[in-house]
């Protein structure tokens, strides 16, 4: 085989492998949904995951949202000052946060914090035969382990996004009004004038979708871990990379459809 052939061969194999993996992730999604509608739901496990994904991520999300809003105000101010449109700083921060940065940055932070932990936990359970133990006790691992995590992801990422949006705008206000001396009335008035409920709402739909992506991929990679501690490490890396890429790529397409 010559070089071009083997290159094409490799490329083909990689593409096939990725398509196959995508198919498996989609199938995992459907079986998760089918277990979701079959009572009884593990309410306690769901709340535990919601606490882990949601409550315990608040700190990083506040930090991320706050500083993002602040830096946007700073950058926006210098830009808008060139044509004396400083008044638009508030609405720019608010639009940027609600439509884009709130959902995306929150999801990326939750991927790093909670998505990776999902992979680590399920991966460890796989390699220490805890998942086999569930099968042996006739308990379905999807129902016990994956359903609570996906529900938590889909519900909590939007809530965290609201927090990020709010803190981000607050951060923008602080820098804009307190540091850069923009008129507070104008700052707020322009937010009301230019930001519509749809902007916020569409941002939240996006973040629910990102929550699904990061929990689904986190669970998939953990659930299919092979090969001891090293395998768990590898699975976590793959989960974080794949989730982050999927969030950024799907963000473009969701935005194109919605706005």
């Amino acid at each position: 085989m010559n070089r071009a052939d083997s290159f094409l061969d490799q490329l083909g194999k990689t593409v096939m492998r990725n398509i196959e993996e995508m198919g498996k992730i989609v199938m995992l999604f459907f079986s998760t949904v089918s277990w979701m509608v079959r009572p009884p739901l593990k309410i306690r496990d769901i709340f535990k995951q919601m606490e882990f994904v949601g409550v315990k991520s608040i700190f990083v999300v506040v930090l991320t949202g706050g500083f993002t809003g602040m830096v946007m105000a700073l950058q926006g101010y210098h830009g808008f000052k060139m044509f004396s449109a400083e008044a638009l700083v508030g609405s720019t921060v608010a639009l940027g946060m609600t439509r884009e940065l709130g959902p995306v940055l929150t999801s990326l932070m939750v991927t790093a914090r909670a998505g990776s932990a999902m992979t680590a936990e399920l991966g460890t359970m796989r390699v220490t035969e805890q998942i086999d133990a569930l099968y042996v006790m006739a308990a379905n691992p999807i129902k016990h382990l994956i359903v609570p995590r996906i529900i938590a992801g889909v519900l909590m990422v939007p809530i965290l996004t609201i927090v990020a949006d709010f803190v981000g705008i607050l951060g923008g206000y602080f820098v804009g009004v307190e540091v850069l001396n923009i008129n507070p009335g104008v700052f707020v008035k322009n937010i009301y004038k230019y930001v519509e409920l749809d902007d916020i709402f569409n941002g939240l739909i996006k973040s629910a979708f990102f929550g699904l992506i990061l929990s689904l991929i986190g669970c998939y990679k953990g659930f299919n871990t092979e090969g001891g501690a090293e395998g768990v490490g590898k699975a976590i890396t793959e989960a974080v990379v794949l989730s982050s890429i999927s969030i950024l790529v799907s963000d473009y397409f969701l935005t194109a459809i919605m706005f």
Binding site: M125, D132, V136, M137, A138, A139
Partner: protein, 248 residues
């Protein structure tokens, strides 16, 4: 009767089971012995459907479980309990929750009754007052015993023990042997035990099967095995370095 017929299983180019046949009677304790890495755990996982063979059949009551789907398999699994070699306790749950897990999943017992059973089962394996501890706070031998308590929590018809006494001190090992013997007798259980501990095996087993080279090379009562003329069995039971089994 549990019947393994012509089982083949390999991982990559490691051929673990190569046409294995074995019939296990109900209401008896059958032990499986063999060298480390010979495929004892793999064999056990075929019985409970965690692994599927490349070829061959696993009959439980004349039902070929290799052909069942997940739902049908679960009905069969409810009749089983299993102790994993590495205990496989759920490390997000307390010891008590671990032992209670099969009861909560498959019985309609009240919470107070479940609590009582958990305490009883843990006491049977020599553990008291550990219900609220996490598995990570326990030693390896303690985990093994919690795994044992979980395996017999439901008093299933058939219990699979993967090395129940490995890692226990001699006194505790003997206590666990007695527990297996008594529980088996009192509830007429079918026990399948994997062990490296020859003394334990003679104590608990009605039948012993020797796994070597992917097949059962010897199968009989403890006395029959002691009187065996098969050089592989003789070497294994006596722990001799010289013989047909080579170290590497």
């Amino acid at each position: 009767m549990i019947k393994l017929v012509d089982l083949y299983k390999s991982f990559g180019d490691v051929h673990v089971l190569r046409g294995l046949n074995l019939e296990i009677e109900y209401g008896k304790t059958t032990s499986i012995i063999g060298r480390s890495g010979s495929g004892k755990s793999v064999l056990l996982k075929h019985i409970i459907g965690l692994l599927k063979p490349e070829r061959g059949h696993v009959f439980i009551d004349d039902v070929d479980v290799t052909k069942l789907d997940e739902k049908e398999m679960n009905e069969i699994r409810k009749r089983f309990g299993m102790l994993f070699q590495g205990s496989a306790l759920f490390d997000s749950m307390t010891v008590g929750e671990n032992v209670a897990f099969p009861l909560r999943e498959h019985s309609r017992l009240k919470e107070s009754e479940i609590k009582q059973i958990v305490i009883e089962r843990l006491r049977a394996v020599g553990l008291t007052g550990v219900e609220d501890k996490m598995p990570s706070e326990m030693s390896g031998g303690m985990k093994k015993r919690v795994g044992l308590a979980r395996a017999i929590a439901m008093l299933p018809e058939i219990v699979l023990f993967d090395e129940p006494t490995t890692g226990l001190d001699p006194i505790m090992a003997e206590a666990i042997n007695q527990l297996i013997v008594e529980t088996q007798k009192n509830f007429n259980l079918t026990c399948i035990v994997i062990s490296h501990d020859i003394h334990s095996i003679y104590t608990v087993s009605h039948k012993i099967a020797m796994l070597y080279d992917g097949v059962i090379v010897e199968y009989g009562t403890p006395d029959e095995l002691r009187a065996s003329t098969n050089p592989v069995t003789i070497q294994f039971l006596s722990g001799n370095i010289e013989g047909p089994i080579t170290i590497v």
